[in-house]
């Protein structure tokens, strides 16, 4: 580009963004897409002891309920950009071991958002609540392990 140094140049997508065009995933989802909602951990550190999704699965409109029992055992990283990525490969899609408030416990797909949320309320979880580790200094040499694996 000739003579571009020092000039203000509008981003390619600037006007689509600022005039409210459909540019985000939810804006362009085709008609009839399922809605996915996550059930999240209320505990900072816990282990799922029991999880019963049978009632949630029977709710009308619910297409799929997934727990840690349904996901591959391959760990991946949520960090970084392109391969090779040196961050720890420490995530499962869903894990029995919950490591923060909000960690996903179950994934629900339903025809409507309301159905998905209603299904989440029907999932019965027994948690073994563990001692949380809340900062890096406490984590040093702490017998409580957030990633025992």
């Amino acid at each position: 580009m000739k003579g571009a140094v020092g000039l203000g140049i509008r981003k390619k997508d600037a006007m689509a963004l600022t005039t409210g065009k459909p540019v985000y995933t939810e804006d362009i989802a085709p008609e009839g897409c399922l809605v996915v909602k996550l059930m999240r951990s209320p505990h900072a550190h816990a282990m799922i002891e029991t999880i019963d999704v049978s009632r949630a699965r029977q709710l009308p409109g619910v297409a799929c309920v997934l727990t840690y029992q349904d996901v591959p055992g391959t760990r991946f990283t949520l960090a970084g950009q392109t391969y090779p990525e040196f961050s720890p490969y420490d995530r499962l899609i869903l894990d029995r071991h919950l490591r923060c408030v909000g960690d996903p416990v179950a994934i629900v797909a339903a025809q409507t958002e309301k159905q998905a949320l209603a299904a989440i309320r029907l999932i019965k979880v027994g948690y073994q609540v563990l001692e949380p580790v809340l900062d890096a200094e406490t984590a040093m040499d702490n017998p409580v392990l957030i990633h025992p694996e």
């Binding site: 203000g8 689509a16 005039t19």
Partner: protein, 155 residues
């Protein structure tokens, strides 16, 4: 229930549940500009105009729109382009997710107080959160837009 109201100058009848928000009803009508950030009136993303006043559509029950005039960014494309151009030129749009709500609120400000000072701009836009481009560039863009509205500078 069926809710009849005016949307961007057109009479519409929308299907909604009693506990739906105006935000949900607008999205169900494929109004893509209206975004939901917090659902708790803290972020300003879902701002629309109801009878000419800026409201947070996540917290207006859908049935309350019955018989009222709702305007979204889809109905204010000329103004959106003018203000959006100012935002773009000041680098005040990055992910752009907060832009429609911000623009709806700035357009309300421009109508109420086109000579707003920086302090007045800041106070008026305190409820419009942005997580990437930041507030200084937005303020410069709003200043530039208000100067256009006052006829002091050309777009």
């Amino acid at each position: 229930m069926i809710i009849e109201f005016t949307l961007n100058g057109m009479k519409v009848a929308a299907q909604a549940e009693a506990d739906d928000s105006l935000y949900q009803m607008l999205r169900s009508l494929h109004i893509a500009s209206v975004k939901c950030g917090c659902e708790t009136t803290n972020c300003g993303l879902c701002t629309v105009h109801m009878d000419g006043k800026a409201v947070l559509s996540c917290s207006v029950p859908a049935p309350r729109a019955a018989g009222h005039e709702i305007v979204t960014l889809e109905g204010l494309q000329e103004e959106a382009k003018a203000l959006g151009g100012c935002l773009a030129d000041e680098g005040a749009e990055q992910c752009g997710f907060c832009a429609p709500g911000l623009i709806m609120n700035v357009l309300a400000l421009a109508k109420e107080n086109p000579s707003a000072t920086d302090a007045e701009i800041d106070a008026y836009l305190a409820g419009n959160l942005c997580r990437c481009s930041g507030y200084m560039s937005q303020r410069r863009a709003v200043r530039r837009y208000l100067a256009q509205v006052r006829g002091e500078v050309q777009a």
